[in-house]
Amino acid sequence: MTASERPLTAMIGLPDGPPDCAAYGRAGGWQAVRRALRDMTPDAVIDLVTASKLRGRGGAGFGTGQKWSFVPKDPAATRRKYLIANADEMEPGTFKDRLLLEGNPLQLIEGMIVAGYAIQAGHGVIFLRGEYHLALDRLNQAIAEAHEVGWLGDNILGSGFGFEIHVHASGGRYICGEETALLTALEGRRAQPRSKPPFPQVGGLWGAPSVVNNVETLCNLPHIVTNGADWFRALGIGPDSGTKIYGVSGRVRRPGAWELPMGTPLREIVEHHAGGLRDGYRLRALLPGGASTAFLDAGQIDVAMEYGAVEKAGSRLGTGLAILLDDRTCPVGMLHNLEHFFAQESCGWCTPCRDGLPWVERLLQAIESGTGQPDDLDRLHDHARLLGPMGRTFCAHAPGAMAPLASGLNLFREDFEAHIRQRRCPLHATA
């Protein structure tokens, strides 16, 4: 594949580490800022991104241009607005944003300048996972350099547009990745999600119009502005445009992440790029896009990894990084691990999530450890049914938690029953 076919990662993995401003420019960087700030109106940038059909890479897949278009356009100079990069990557099984942050921080910075210009926000914030120490150092260094060179600061390229970026290192909570909780965290509060309306685009950080975009989403922008919407749309194989960073973890030969055309079949990712399952293991099922997506079973491996197709298959594209369950790993144990995560990471604001998830976790633990009771399965089904649909809990955390549970209860029914019947895990937790 040529560099232009994998624009996001072209500059990643250089022997000397991430490029500096000059190297980034030599390799084609900064063109987008030049083009946008010199030749395009903010609305033209929004229109271009809308035409590119870029969809959010943070998990929900919302149209990026459309999201921006909700930002009020009244006299910009008098109004504080914020452009926020969601770099809180904490979804288990997901490691794509770290790659982009550590590998090429200037790409994110350029994307943020473009996005900031489009919505006329003067303030950029990178909400970074607190554990990403290397990314923090590299981002701070890149920001300082970009500032020095003049890519950040007042009046960039004499355009009259000024933009600053601050990095906020999170105190650590999965829910901070949820965009409204992220805003609450930035305000120095317990990161509880907020109700909508107001949508962040209208009333976000400190009540000011704010756009929250995922790191990968933002990293696409320089390339879209530089190469155009048609080019970007053509990158995808199916209905979705662009490339996507896909990845695989679990018992495969070569776990990793790869930038591939949007719509690449899952089989190709698992078998070709990840090298298939390790010797002695068979694929049992997988979570296609992170811990909060529903299981697909091994037979569904030919699904195209694009928003619509994965949804049709009964799950979500999510972050696009798959977690594989092999035949020697206990599905009940895996669900217990997942629900332990979700229970721990509940923010504690709403009842069903705060008190329902720990119950689920304990039921799974009991079943896994051989003390399950027959009606425990009913309780688990109740929770999946009552918490699964959106709107029952305050935010999407609990529905996310119920996606693997609900699908897993169906898919692994016999495993559950065997656990309860035999009063032990028929497999050992890990082979």
């Binding site: 317990r190 907020r194 107001p198 705060r354 329902g356 998830l357 009552l386 029952r392």
Partner: protein
């Protein structure tokens, strides 16, 4: 008005409310926890789930949280839907996972919202079989118990305490299912409204500590509507009593006054009623010692005294209108004193006159909450009228409404509205000599001596309306400040000016009135609120009488045979020398009181009166609202209401036209005839002959038990209960009770299925609106006099090199006379200090200084407070020197430290 369909029933609903409110107003039983009518919606507990359908053809519907969903015309919803029911039962089941199920030993039991909601959802069987988590509890001080294990994580406590009341020392800690609601460390809750947690928390985490110590079930107590007497706001309360003693005070909702919230002074101040030192029998001084006597002997003694010469009566601003009127009737209007010394007497009488003559609204507390600019001039309302200060705090919440409206966020969507209001400018402008609790949220604060604040006030008025007189010789910064405040107030639609008698300054009152009048002339809709000191100061102002100074003059002239002092500790009004002068010139001193005051110890005849909980009467609050309190306990002879004592004294003395009243209503009727300004007080509440469905109202919940059992060691027979002629209540559980009872006659809130205070929803016309049966009380003041500018502008305050102007700095706890006798309040009172802005040479923070104050030589530690204006000192009134209440100049005598 919209119409919504609830389970097929068409119900009217307002489009500015949410579906939960609409359902409750429609009388539906829809459970909830995190929503609170005064706190709005945040969607945390998920208990109020209902099914909403998009149209008549939608058969599937969608689960929504009623409290987070606005009413829309034609909305179709179902509470009864099986899935909605299952989800709600699930929510209670989740909430109960860690709950200790300790209802039998929980003080909340029987009036617990969690119990009610658990029953309502039908959750009855525990299916969770794993271990419960446990918490360590905290000592939160003398007011509130803490039992965190009962927490259901609804976040009401922190939302009330922090967001609503501005408290800083309570927070939510931890995350997921390991939440903790408490303080950073053990210690008394600092906020003045902490007691409300007992009512706000829907379960038994925060409960009333003094009440728990002598604990009773709600159904074992009698209730009576009452009015708080611990400041002039006049919050409406419910008094609960059992076995002859007051057990607790609860909030009684009044739409325009206290709404859902009482201050801690009001809630925990009732302890004086159960003091062991309380006078319980008439005593006569014989050979210098007080000797208990019978009522008849006491009255004979009074008759003998009265034969010795004219009777002069000294009334009280902490006693009811009826008690004062009875005294006035005994002594005659010309020999009746307000019990106030000048200048407080003059200023108190000035207040209603000013309110009547100023073209501005005289606002209720609820009205104040809607002000879009507030000037606080001189008065520290957070201590002189705490609930009023809380109302002013709410103006900030309203300041967020424009941003919320613009973002199309409903105003009850609490968290979102507060967030959108982050940068909304504060409407509060606080000009006071010393820092106040409102300062942190004020747009402007300014420190100056009272005279300088008054001058600033005059200057502000002049800048709003050029015809108002200007204050001469303002400094440059003062001129600028006056200009900017004038501009802010003028730009408001509903500006509010608040001042009061805190610094006994007529100039502050006049300046405030000028500002209000100027704002009126400038075309805004201004309000003027004047804060008087005591629970019935305003009633006394309307009744009128002589200042204490006049009584002293009469005594000096030998014109007093018997001085009757009623419910007034003159040691707080007159310094020791003045009081000695007065008493030595009076042959007989009669004291009527329900507390053992220093003055009572000097009485020749002491008549034990009932306290508020054992009597009925009327108080007029600072807004001129006459409000009736009714007895929760029968007065047991020889305790009698002051008015009964006075009426009997008049009869015994053979006074001409001695009244022959036998019940409270007769006193009120006589007062209405003789004091026209108080005629409206008769309408403050229905008379004792009020009947609902032809029956008296019951004062006890229908399930009252133990009435006989508690005295089973004496007798197992039911004992006939005394029937008070002063109230329309029966003394028992026999009688009528309905949600449409007059607001003035609500003895407790309870409806089937709703045993907690949350049942209040059923008694309101609409949630947060007036009571179904009409609000309590009646307003006596409306402006009806011609206006003229006030022109008495004081000279600038000039600090003297060797003296301080000592200003009274009342304490939330420890200043007000009655509450200070209540043990939990006393426990929160801190020792007096002398606060100085500038330290005189040779003195340091913490040094003790001596000075003469109100005739007493006192020594106080000093506290340096650099925010105070130069030349100003602060000291709590009545604490260091008993009679200190109004500003005086003092000279400090040297360093007393070794």
């Amino acid at each position: 008005m919209a119409t919504i369909l609830i389970d097929g029933r068409a119900c009217p609903a307002r489009t500015d409310e949410n579906l939960l409110q609409a359902c409750l107003e429609a009388g539906a039983d829809l459970p909830y926890f995190c929503w609170h009518p005064e706190l709005g919606s945040v969607g945390a507990c998920r208990q109020c789930a209902v099914k909403q359908f998009s149209g008549p053809d939608d058969k599937t519907g969608r689960i929504v949280m009623a409290c987070m969903t606005p009413v829309t015309d034609g909305a179709i919803l179902s509470i009864d839907d099986p899935l909605a029911r299952e989800f709600r039962a699930g929510v209670v089941e989740w909430l109960m996972i860690n709950h200790p199920h300790d209802c039998p030993v929980c003080p909340e039991g029987g009036e617990c919202h969690l119990q009610d909601m658990t029953v309502m959802t039908g959750h009855a069987r525990r299916r969770y079989r794993f271990a419960k988590r446990t918490h360590r509890n905290q000592d939160l001080g003398p007011f509130i118990n803490h039992e965190m294990n009962r927490c259901i994580g609804c976040y009401r406590c922190v939302r009330f305490y922090r967001d609503y009341a501005g408290g800083e020392d309570l927070a939510a800690f931890g995350a997921h299912d390991d939440l903790y609601f408490g303080r950073y460390e053990d210690g008394a809750l600092e906020n003045a409204f902490s007691g409300n947690l007992a009512e706000i928390c829907p379960t038994g985490v925060f409960t009333d500590k003094p009440f728990s110590a002598v604990y009773s079930r709600k159904w074992d107590m009698r209730g009576a509507p009452s009015v708080c007497a611990h400041c002039a706001v006049g919050c409406n309360t419910i008094v609960n009593a059992r076995q002859g003693s007051v057990r607790r005070v609860l909030n009684r909702y009044h739409d325009a006054v206290n709404r859902y919230v009482l201050c801690d002074r009001g809630r925990f101040g009732h302890g004086f009623t159960t003091m062991s030192t309380r006078p319980r029998a008439p005593t006569m001084r014989q050979d210098g010692l007080p000797v208990p006597v019978s009522i008849a002997t006491a009255l004979d003694r009074f008759a003998a005294m009265a034969a010795d010469g004219p009777v002069v009566g000294i009334g009280s601003t902490r006693a009811s209108l009826e008690a004062n009127f009875a005294l006035r009737a005994l002594a005659g209007p010309a020999r009746f004193s307000t019990g106030l010394a000048q200048p407080e007497h003059d200023l108190t009488l000035l207040v209603p006159a000013l309110l009547r003559a100023t073209p501005a609204r005289n606002p209720s507390l609820h009205d104040m909450e809607a002000a879009d600019a507030v000037l606080v001039l001189g008065e520290d309302v957070c201590v002189t009228a705490p609930r009023l200060g809380l109302a002013l705090r709410q103006t900030l919440r309203r300041a967020a409404y424009p941003a919320a409206d613009a973002a199309k966020v409903p105003r009850w969507m609490d968290a979102a509205v507060r967030m959108l209001g982050t940068d909304a400018p504060s409407p509060l402008l606080v000009l006071t000599p010393a820092p106040t609790d409102l300062d942190p949220i004020a747009a402007t604060t300014h420190r100056a001596a009272p005279d300088d604040l008054a001058r600033l006030g005059f200057a502000i008025a002049h800048r709003i309306d050029g015809t108002a007189p200007d204050a001469p010789d303002l400094s440059e910064p003062e001129t600028r400040l006056a200009g900017s405040i004038a501009a802010t107030l003028r730009a408001a639609r509903r500006p509010l000016v608040v001042t009061g008698l805190h610094h006994a300054s007529a100039a502050l009152l006049h300046a405030a009135a000028n500002i209000a009048a100027a704002l009126h002339a400038a075309g805004t809709d201004p309000a003027l609120s004047l804060v008087v000191p005591d629970g019935n100061s305003m009633g006394m102002a309307l009744m009128g009488g002589l200042p204490l100074d006049a009584v002293r003059a009469m005594a000096r002239e030998g014109e007093i045979g018997t001085l009757v002092v009623m419910e007034n500790d003159l040691t707080r009004r007159l310094d020791a020398a003045a009081l000695d002068d007065l008493l030595s010139a009076v042959p007989h001193l009669v004291v009527i009181d329900h507390i053992a005051t220093p003055l009572a110890h000097r009485a020749d005849l002491l008549l034990p009166a009932t306290a508020f909980a054992e009597s009925g009467g009327t108080l007029v609050n600072t807004e001129g609202r006459a409000q009736r309190f009714l007895p929760a306990l029968a007065a047991e002879l020889p305790l009698q209401e002051s008015w009964r004592w006075l009426q009997q004294c008049a009869q015994a003395a053979g006074t001409a036209n001695a009244p022959d009243w036998t019940d409270l209503d007769q006193v009120i009727a006589a007062m209405a005839r003789e004091v026209p300004a108080l005629a409206g007080a008769a309408d403050a509440a229905p008379n004792a002959d009020y009947r609902l469905d032809g029956r008296r109202l019951r004062s006890e919940p229908s399930r009252i038990s133990g009435r006989t059992a508690v005295r089973a060691n004496i007798s197992v027979h039911d004992r006939p209960l005394p029937q008070s002629p002063d109230t329309p209540f029966s003394p028992s559980m026999e009688g009528a009770y309905a949600t449409a009872m007059p607001g003035a006659l609500i003895p407790f809130y309870q409806v089937p299925g709703w045993n907690s205070v949350q049942s209040l929803n059923r008694f309101q016309q609409e949630i947060g609106g007036p009571m179904r049966g009409g609000d309590a009380g009646t307003r006596l003041l409306d402006h009806d006099r011609p206006h003229d500018w006030h022109r008495d502008i004081p000279a600038p305050f000039t600090p003297a090199p060797d003296a301080f102007l000592l200003l009274p700095a009342p304490r939330l706890f420890g200043t007000e006379e009655l509450s200070t006798l209540s043990p939990p309040i006393a426990a929160r009172a801190t020792p007096a200090t002398l606060r100085l802005g500038t330290l005189p040479p040779g003195l340091q923070d913490g040094d003790t200084v001596r000075f003469t104050l109100a005739g007493e030589r006192i020594a106080l530690p000093i506290r340096h407070d650099p925010t105070l204006p130069p030349g100003i000192a602060l000291c709590p009134p009545h604490m260091a020197a008993r009679a200190f209440a109004t500003p005086v100049r003092i000279r400090l005598h040297g360093n007393d430290t070794p």
